[in-house]
Symmetry: D2
Subunit: 483 residues, 4 copies
Amino acid sequence: MAKIDFQEDKLHEECGVFGIFGSPDAATLTTLGLHALQHRGQEGAGIVTFDGESFHGTRRPGLVSDFFTRENVIKKLMGSNAIGHVRYSTTGDSIVKNIQPFYADLSSGGFACAHNGNLTNASMLRQNLVNDGAIFQSTSDTETILQLVARSKREYITDKLIDALFQIQGAYALVILTNKKLIGVRDPYGIRPLVLGDLKGAPVLASETCALDIIGAKYVRDVENGEIIVITDNKIESIKPFPNVNERPCIFERIYFSRPDSIIDGRSVYSYRKNLGSELAKEYKIDADVVVPIPDSGVPAALGFSQTSSIPFELGLIRNHYVGRTFIEPTQSIRQFGVKLKHSVNVSYIKNKKVILIDDSIVRGTTAKKIVKMVYDAGAKEVHLGVSCPPITHPDFYGIDTPNYDELIASNKNINEMSSIIGTKSLFFLSLDGTYRAMGCEERDNSSPQFTDHCFTGEYPTPLIDMEQGNVSKQYSLLTEKS
Amino acid sequence: MAKIDFQEDKLHEECGVFGIFGSPDAATLTTLGLHALQHRGQEGAGIVTFDGESFHGTRRPGLVSDFFTRENVIKKLMGSNAIGHVRYSTTGDSIVKNIQPFYADLSSGGFACAHNGNLTNASMLRQNLVNDGAIFQSTSDTETILQLVARSKREYITDKLIDALFQIQGAYALVILTNKKLIGVRDPYGIRPLVLGDLKGAPVLASETCALDIIGAKYVRDVENGEIIVITDNKIESIKPFPNVNERPCIFERIYFSRPDSIIDGRSVYSYRKNLGSELAKEYKIDADVVVPIPDSGVPAALGFSQTSSIPFELGLIRNHYVGRTFIEPTQSIRQFGVKLKHSVNVSYIKNKKVILIDDSIVRGTTAKKIVKMVYDAGAKEVHLGVSCPPITHPDFYGIDTPNYDELIASNKNINEMSSIIGTKSLFFLSLDGTYRAMGCEERDNSSPQFTDHCFTGEYPTPLIDMEQGNVSKQYSLLTEKS
Amino acid sequence: MAKIDFQEDKLHEECGVFGIFGSPDAATLTTLGLHALQHRGQEGAGIVTFDGESFHGTRRPGLVSDFFTRENVIKKLMGSNAIGHVRYSTTGDSIVKNIQPFYADLSSGGFACAHNGNLTNASMLRQNLVNDGAIFQSTSDTETILQLVARSKREYITDKLIDALFQIQGAYALVILTNKKLIGVRDPYGIRPLVLGDLKGAPVLASETCALDIIGAKYVRDVENGEIIVITDNKIESIKPFPNVNERPCIFERIYFSRPDSIIDGRSVYSYRKNLGSELAKEYKIDADVVVPIPDSGVPAALGFSQTSSIPFELGLIRNHYVGRTFIEPTQSIRQFGVKLKHSVNVSYIKNKKVILIDDSIVRGTTAKKIVKMVYDAGAKEVHLGVSCPPITHPDFYGIDTPNYDELIASNKNINEMSSIIGTKSLFFLSLDGTYRAMGCEERDNSSPQFTDHCFTGEYPTPLIDMEQGNVSKQYSLLTEKS
Amino acid sequence: MAKIDFQEDKLHEECGVFGIFGSPDAATLTTLGLHALQHRGQEGAGIVTFDGESFHGTRRPGLVSDFFTRENVIKKLMGSNAIGHVRYSTTGDSIVKNIQPFYADLSSGGFACAHNGNLTNASMLRQNLVNDGAIFQSTSDTETILQLVARSKREYITDKLIDALFQIQGAYALVILTNKKLIGVRDPYGIRPLVLGDLKGAPVLASETCALDIIGAKYVRDVENGEIIVITDNKIESIKPFPNVNERPCIFERIYFSRPDSIIDGRSVYSYRKNLGSELAKEYKIDADVVVPIPDSGVPAALGFSQTSSIPFELGLIRNHYVGRTFIEPTQSIRQFGVKLKHSVNVSYIKNKKVILIDDSIVRGTTAKKIVKMVYDAGAKEVHLGVSCPPITHPDFYGIDTPNYDELIASNKNINEMSSIIGTKSLFFLSLDGTYRAMGCEERDNSSPQFTDHCFTGEYPTPLIDMEQGNVSKQYSLLTEKS
């Protein structure tokens, strides 16, 4: 029997990280923090704790609330220091050994590490390490960092870590737990996010502020680009080993990934998204009866568009939150159902209307095409589709799961062609400068862009070593062993 | 370790039903139909099919997409006729033997039955049946129907069924599968919904039209109150055995239960909910900066309120869709987290604002209290709470899981007291007539109300026999056997 | 891929029962008792307890030690009265709803029942009951007993039970638990066994004495044929409602089913089996070098044969106790392995030897054929096969899983033909009178046989009503629902 | 609730290994081979295959027949070369990451390894490797071998392996799979066994001949002590890198571990065990009525004892093969059950008899004590206990799980004291020379013993480096991560 796959046509983040130091409820609080970061990855989750003597850890496929809410799980994760990780759900079977945090017994003691991001020279480094006798147990680039740390001849763990960081390239936000320290690291450009918080004196590290809010911790500051934060029992130390460069965070955190209530740069992610909608409304004047978001992610931009354009906002599409990934497909004698499992039309607000659909991004265009058809089938007079960011023309190599150039619709088609494929009366994208304005910039600084925005521009912040050498494979010829 | 329970303070429906007759993909289509009805019950799901010779069935705890999307499950559910059921998730362990459809081998052949609703004299009937030698295998009132049908001395199954229906009282929408027929039944008042559809000639029965939409079936008509629809290979027959009374459907289907895109009486449920918000805005003029829905169910009414009042609508509260039911509670030294697992504040739209929160109903007031506190903690200047239906003062006995009088806040407190408990600057409820206006009535017809609305009025449409005799227990002293 | 099935060519018992009344550890002791009876059935096990107020129960597929040794399982089985059941492993999927004890809420209160045996008129009774409105939930003949008890119009439970017993025919050893009583019943001929024991004042019922031994209980006496033993708080009452007939227990309990250390009629089962071997040695003089049992069940008879014949006993065949039921079969290019998964040859004691293999019975002859070939392949000069009971020519209908006439080798072939099929130099069976002598009788009393021995003689003790009416099907056209 | 643990008082082997090269059914045949070796370890099993391009592997807790008989498991283990491993069941939770075969991606390609035995300098080597940057993923000494191979600077895999072998000490039988070769290795003394077989041209390696028999493979020869056998597509090469020493296999393979039908040195293990019983009977003349083995392992020696002494052999003790490891213990008000779950008395052959019990070894004496009491409780007049090997006075460090000196009864008590503790009328052990005679030697060659027999003599064949340095811990402070 064929299966219908309902993976949405979106970019996908690969991870979220969390750490806490010196709190009696470390494992429970990490569970809550990871739960708040669940939107960053649903494949699996892991927690490692340290109780003053031993490290304890559990890694599991599935959602945080599926497993880490069990009493017997939390009981075994003893200790007041902990780090945790949620991992993005790739297609295909989950491989437990790739679920983080990773752990190694170094000569200096235990070392656990959780990583959000992606290295661009991991394959090259891995090959060198294997040639030198290293044995890898996972297919993850994160293990490369551990192997490099393990082989450093420096005495102190912080120096070992710096040794390793100077060899890796790409995007990384790390939280690391040793028997004395909780360490947070952001790559030189600060591509992936990491914030520092405080829970009644216990320092906290997290990918987003929403993970601080859920445990009632206060936001202290962002970990800076290129900064190593070393937390011990009596102090928080900042180390900046890299040459100083301007921060250049990934713009998709604001456009799509971060949770709407997370605060970045003093403002909520939701407000950036409304701004994107407002800017879009300023750039395009469409004669329409109703603004309808493609739920859930298109809602804030649609609200912004509606408020700026004064065209009424309606929930003309309904999203079913119970949906799984696949369903058995009925035989061909019966029509394809496709997108209806996830979205359905609220006919009253669509029929005989000129509709502007608003989405936050278009990747392959597959979901948009189905939805546009569904809206026309429901009786819409016209369907326009506004996208609250520029066309995505280039893939990512820093931890966002993007399709190849071949599959990126905007990489191969112009806007008219895309509109024709998707079936819209008109298709319009926010300009790059409009995007920067929505973020609060006057314009993009082309000599030193304020954001990592290569998906729109092709300007990658770091060399893409593995890709240029043809080492882009994410899977080694290891055992096909499954959990 | 203590557990935090995050069951929301809402009413809960007990079931959704679906049936299809004469389609080669009967089990797959039933899976899709039940998936569309998943909001009506998440405890468990079951499907029974008939392949011309044998009945096949599977019943399982969990979501439809957890289990019924597996190829090996669908393969065993052979046949072109099928019925299915989704069941509401009660607290406590799921009892597999209560998951429907129920099945019995009658002298006339196999008989499978799925039921949405609740009988008000099931305990009394059960006692009589047990005294007469019947053995019950479940604790469900639905089994009473089967036992009555089994004992009827009439020859034909339709007559046996009518025999049984004349003995039961309360609310019921039934779908029944025999070796020759698919049968749909609605109780004399039509308290619970049931619609008839058509998929390329194959008749379909479902609780809501959204289950027709997902499979591309056309809506034909509602099954009428007191009607029995008998579907066989060559015709659809309508039987009306009961004295004629006016239809009086449960008003909560429109206020809360049905999916927003389902169509009732020619209009979408979403539009009724927007009307409720509009009516509320007409009844109360509040000076405020922003209208914020309590997501997800408060969104349509908040939109209606905003459009009518011209106070801007903002998603000032964010809902986490990954939430499970319980989490391990951190120790007392750390503050309670409560509602934050499910909802978080979008501070930018709350801080220093006069906020009107809109919810669709208040049951115990517990969730509202936590959210109001959270909104004040986020810096709101004033928090008003508007509820888009009247105060719920009376429990339900027709298939809605309501708390006792003791726990219903509106049953025990006046509005000022409730406002003080919940912590709002003001608390305001839509009037009963406003509610009826939102439904398209001029006013409530007090001599013959258009809706079953006892939760607001105490006017129960049928006698409450078991309750009056003290037989309200839903659990018999059976085996504590679990799945 | 094909599967190799390693079900042995033996008769299979359908059940073992256990009950205890008035012991604080009732569930734990029942677990131990069922564990001792595990050889009587490995498909599933169940326990029902009564704690003075409520009944508790759990039924599960698998071995007793797989599930009932878990603390959380035992904790829920509260109360000082308990009954339990182990069920024989049929091929095909296990059906949880057929695992006993069965339970019903009767008008007189809870009624739990576990049954070893098989009724010969269950299908006829079931049809009558269904015609009268009874709903069956299982495919088991045992449920018929419950339905009959439920429908009795007598006032007291003991009378209801007698009402039911007068309607059923066949073999049954029952243990029954009500809210006041533990009841044991044996059918009028005492075909299936049941013993009464005592654990420090707490009465115990069990299929065999080995279940008394494991808990340190004393053997009191056998429940007599046709006897009902009613145990209450202050007395043990014996009721004999049936006309008096001679006891006629199933001879296979001694030949094959019962555990070797169980005591029947004052002597161990092991000793009866040794006697069978001795009698066989007296009847046949074979010139051979070594007596080799087919393990495990052939060992006692082989010892008896060896001691009487003075031919040395050796474990020339080794049995692997880790064997599962099926293995993936290698492709045809490689030879069949068959019996080697369960048995292997101890070559040193076989090669160049004249070997007498001893087995306790031959059903289809399939296992014997493979073993004989294996022994010849290992270099045996001659292979003789002695069987310590007569040829099995007739199937059983009293709770032993036997193949049809078609498959019973002795029903279709004479001894020479069988020897040729199995591949032995000679094949010899113990005579019927020899079998009776081994049991301690002078000879078989043909006018009133001391044992139920129809498998050898075709003399069934009761009418075979269902079979004669063509109602032998054990499976009704119920749901194919699986656990 | 307390748990009764029924782990028997025996020595326990840690592993069995199997490999096959160039057979289309490699995974199925490895499953069968491991099944035949299941007595060597029941904690878990694993298989790694190579299909010409990729390695595939699965490792699971539990029995071979629990998991590797599933079609979907075998289907994924593609390829015609395979190795497998069964692992001994330790108390405590199974740790999946310690289940073998282990796998590493070396610079030379994939390398899978399965190990039976134990290294005596693994901790020291591990510490050195960690100091040099190696990351270990398991707590097993076997991983040390992989890390050493990975770090060898030699070019060819065989040379890398020899590099590693020269650094390790202790007992090992290895099977190794690379993308070109199947390799078998035995340590310089040949402490653990390994045999070479042939299945229609496909070479096979296995711990015992019983694993050849089950797949119909022919025994070719033993892998010699200190030999490396390298199997490639076109030849089988033998390498002997170590200085020549006499073979000195572990004597417990014959006394207890190997399966009775396995052939060692041309004779079945069963025959060695009978010889041990015969020798025991020659050394001790006891006036007794019956010889009773403690089943199952005491049976062959008891047969030998009976035949030599002419005292009749009877199965006076019955073993329950369904036993699990633990049961809930009844409360103290009821007597302890202990050994009865696994063994029960066949009273008829015990009561009023002078009984000689025969067991193959005594470790702590705990099981023996319970059985002796049980036999006296059953009415024995006298109970003598004969042990068919010398007293075990020293622990093993070569892969047999032995208790410490403290717990070894013979290490702390003389024979009279032991007899008194165990409760026997007399206790007698086979002499060391008698043991050697049973093996076919005239006597023990004290200058160069024919067997590894330190458990009786304290003469360890290799230095015990880790133990002497205090590195005997088998568990590192790694993650407590469980499967």
